[in-house]
C-alpha cells in the first residue's frame, strides 16, 4: 500500500487539502491505521498549539497568533502551487513539437498557394517558355532527355521525304513509296497530311501520293 506523504497528512489534519485530495487521503486513512494515528496525532498537536496560543499574551501592532497561522498556511499553499507550476515547465513540452509541425505546414501551404497563383496568372506563352527553360536547365544538369516513341505511344506522326511518305502510329507504319520518277515534290499540310508528287517515269502520269492521319 502506498502511503500519502507526511505533508499531505499534515494538511489533511489541519483541514487544508483540496476537495479531491482530501477525499483521497481520507479514503486511505480509513483503511490505514498507521496514517490514521499520525493524522490524529497531528490534530491533537494542533489543538494543543491553539490552546497554548490562546493563553499567550497579545502580539504588538494588533497581530494575533491565529492570523499568523493562517498566513503561514496560505504561504505553504502558494508554495505547493508554485512547485506544481514549475514541475510542468520542467517536463518536455509536446506542445512545442506540435507548434513546429504547424509552422512547417503553414509555410508549405503558403508556398503551394503562391506557386498555383503564380502559374495560373502567367500568360500561357510565358508559362510554356518557363517550362521549356526549366526542361533545358534539367537537361543541362542531368543530361539530355531523349523522348522515345515508346514514351508517347499515342502520338501519330505523318512524315514526308523524297523517298516516300508515311504515317506512323504505335510503332506501326503505313508508307506509300514512289517508283522511279523524274523529280519529286514533297508537301505537308498542318491538318495532318503529307504528300509527294512525281511524274512516273514509265507511264508519264502525274501521280500524287498522300498519307493522312485522322483521330478515330
Amino acid at each position: 500500500m502506498k502511503h500519502p506523504a507526511e505533508a499531505q497528512i499534515a494538511l489533511f489534519a489541519g483541514g487544508d487539502l483540496g476537495r479531491w485530495e482530501r477525499w483521497r487521503v481520507a479514503r486511505h486513512i480509513g483503511r490505514c491505521s498507521e496514517c490514521r494515528h499520525e493524522a490524529q496525532a497531528l490534530r491533537d498537536a494542533g489543538a494543543q498549539l491553539r490552546e497554548l496560543a490562546a493563553e499567550m499574551p497579545e502580539l504588538p501592532n494588533g497581530l494575533s497568533w491565529n492570523r499568523l497561522a493562517q498566513e503561514i498556511t496560505g504561504n505553504i499553499r502558494v508554495g505547493f502551487a508554485a512547485g506544481e507550476a514549475i514541475s510542468l515547465f520542467d517536463k518536455p513540452a509536446p506542445l512545442k513539437h506540435r507548434l513546429g509541425w504547424n509552422a512547417t505546414l503553414v509555410v508549405l501551404g503558403a508556398t503551394a498557394v503562391f506557386a498555383i497563383a503564380f502559374w495560373t496568372s502567367l500568360p500561357s506563352q510565358q508559362a510554356e517558355h518557363l517550362l521549356a527553360s526549366l526542361k533545358r536547365i534539367r537537361a543541362e544538369r542531368i543530361g539530355t532527355v531523349i523522348r522515345s516513341s515508346a514514351a508517347t505511344p499515342e502520338e501519330a506522326v505523318v512524315e514526308a521525304s523524297s523517298a516516300g511518305i508515311q504515317v506512323k502510329e504505335n510503332g506501326r507504319t503505313l508508307s506509300l513509296m514512289q517508283p522511279r520518277s523524274d523529280g519529286a515534290t514533297v508537301s505537308v499540310s498542318m491538318q495532318g497530311s503529307a504528300g509527294v508528287r512525281f511524274v512516273d517515269a514509265d507511264t508519264g502520269q502525274v501521280t500524287t501520293n498522300k498519307v493522312y492521319y485522322a483521330e478515330q
Binding site: Q125, E128, H129, A132, S133, K135, R136, A139, A156, V157, V158, E159, A160, S161, S162, G164, Q166, V167, K168, E169, G171, R172, T173, L174, S175, L176, M177, Q178, P179, D182, G183, A184, T185, V186, S187, V188, S189, M190, Q191, G192, S193, A194, R197, V199, D200, D202, T203, G204, Q205, V206, T207, T208, N209, K210, V211, Y212, Y213, A214, E215, Q216
Partner: protein, 372 residues
C-alpha cells in the same frame, strides 16, 4: 505459358516470313457498283514480305489496269488505301491528275505500299483499295470524297488549264524556240528548288530544348488574291514550328468556304523553303475577317551536318474556294515573283509537259498542247 507459346508458334507458322505474299494478304479492291471506272486487272508481281527483327515488313506493288466505263473523259482519279489493322487512324491515297482518258479507254495505276507491323499481329493484312473520286473533263465529280479529292483534283485541273493556256500563248507569240526556252527554264527551276524532309505531328508538343519564341508572319500579298492575310504568328523553337495562327480577310464580293495559306520558312543561313500549307475550312462572308489556327507541329530533320534553325517565315494565300464552288489560284504572273519563284514547285501539268519535252522532244510537246 507453354500453351500460349505453342499458340504463338502456330500462328507464326502460318505466316511465310520471307517471300511472296499469300493470297489472303493481298489487298482487297472494292469499287462501287455504279463506279465510272472498272478494274480490268491487278498484278502484284513483286509484292513480298520479310521479317525485320520483331516486325513484319510487307511490300505491295500493285499494277492496276482500270477502264473508263463512263461516257465522259476522265481528268483525274483518287484511290483510297487503308489498312485498319496496321494504322487505325492512318490512310493513304494515290491520285493521278492531268489524265485524258476517253470513254472505254483503259489506263494504268501503280500503287507501291509498304506496311510495317508487329510479327504477332493478325496474320492477314486487310489492305483495302477503294475509290474516293473521279474528276471528269466538265469538272463534274463522282465518288464519296472522304479525302476532299473533289477540291484537290479541281485545283490541279485549274492549274493545268492555266499552264496549258500559258504555254500555248508562248508558242503562239514566240514560236517553238521560245517554248523550248520555257521548258529548259522549268527543268532548271525544278532541279534547283530546295527540298526538305518534314514531319507533321498533330497537337504535337515541343520535343527539343531550344527556347521557344513567337515569330510574326511576313506576308506576300498577291495582287489578285480574294483573301488578304492581315496578321499571323507561330511558335518557333530550333527546327520546329508550331501552332500557326493567322488572321485573314475576305476582300472579294463572294463568300469563301476554303482557303490555303502557303508557309515559307527562312533559316539563319538565309536558305528558304516551302514548309507546308495551312488549310482552313471556313465560312467567310465578303469583307469579313476570320482567324485560322492549327494545333500541329512541323519538325525538320537536320540538313546534313548543319542543324536547321528557323529564323523567320512568310505566308501567302495559295488557293481559295468560293461558296459557289468556283476556285481562285495564283496567276503565272503571281508565281513569277522572285520569292515564290525560288520556293514553289512547278504545277503538276508543267512538270508533265516538261518531262514530255525532255523525253520526246519539242514536237511531241506541241502535239500534246494541241490535244487540249
Amino acid at each position: 505459358m507453354r500453351s500460349s507459346s505453342l499458340l504463338l508458334g502456330s500462328v507464326l507458322a502460318l505466316v511465310p516470313l520471307n517471300g511472296v505474299l499469300s493470297a489472303a494478304a493481298l489487298p482487297k479492291i472494292d469499287f462501287p457498283a455504279d463506279s465510272p471506272v472498272a478494274l480490268l486487272s491487278a498484278d502484284y508481281g513483286e509484292s513480298n514480305e520479310a521479317a525485320r527483327g520483331g516486325a513484319l515488313l510487307l511490300d505491295f506493288h500493285a499494277a492496276l489496269s482500270l477502264r473508263n466505263s463512263s461516257q465522259r473523259k476522265i481528268r483525274g482519279i483518287t484511290l483510297l488505301v487503308s489498312a485498319q489493322d496496321v494504322t487505325p487512324g492512318g490512310k493513304g491515297s494515290v491520285t493521278i491528275t492531268s489524265l485524258d482518258v476517253g470513254p472505254q479507254e483503259s489506263f494504268p495505276v501503280r500503287i507501291d505500299l509498304r506496311l510495317l507491323r508487329p510479327l504477332q499481329a493478325s496474320s492477314n493484312v486487310p489492305v483495302q483499295i477503294g475509290l474516293d473520286g473521279v474528276l471528269f473533263d466538265d469538272l463534274s465529280f463522282y465518288g464519296p470524297d472522304k479525302l476532299s479529292s473533289r477540291r484537290n483534283m479541281r485545283l490541279s485541273e485549274w492549274e493545268a488549264r492555266r499552264d496549258r493556256r500559258y504555254f500555248k500563248s508562248v508558242l503562239a507569240a514566240g514560236g517553238p524556240e521560245r517554248l523550248r526556252q520555257e521548258m529548259l527554264e522549268s527543268l532548271t527551276h525544278e532541279a534547283d528548288r530546295p527540298s526538305l524532309d518534314v514531319q507533321v505531328v498533330r497537337g504535337g508538343r515541343a520535343t527539343n530544348f531550344e527556347p521557344e519564341k513567337q515569330v510574326q508572319f511576313a506576308f506576300l500579298r498577291l495582287p489578285d488574291s480574294p483573301v488578304d492575310p492581315v496578321d499571323g504568328m507561330a511558335r518557333i523553337a530550333g527546327n520546329e514550328a508550331r501552332a500557326p495562327r493567322l488572321e485573314v480577310k475576305n476582300r472579294s464580293d463572294r463568300a469563301i468556304r476554303y482557303l490555303e495559306v502557303g508557309w515559307i520558312l527562312h533559316d539563319q543561313t538565309g536558305r528558304e523553303f516551302l514548309a507546308g500549307s495551312v488549310p482552313a475550312e471556313l465560312n467567310l462572308a465578303p469583307g469579313q475577317q476570320s482567324r485560322i489556327f492549327e494545333n500541329a507541329t512541323l519538325k525538320f530533320p537536320q540538313l546534313g551536318a548543319q542543324p536547321l534553325a528557323i529564323e523567320s517565315m512568310t505566308g501567302f494565300v495559295s488557293s481559295v474556294e468560293f461558296a459557289d464552288g468556283t476556285l481562285w489560284i495564283p496567276t503565272r504572273g503571281d508565281l513569277g515573283s522572285p520569292q515564290l519563284q525560288r520556293v514553289m514547285a512547278p504545277s503538276d501539268e508543267e512538270q508533265r509537259l516538261a518531262q514530255i519535252y525532255r523525253k520526246k522532244g519539242l514536237s511531241a510537246l506541241i502535239a500534246e498542247l494541241n490535244k487540249f
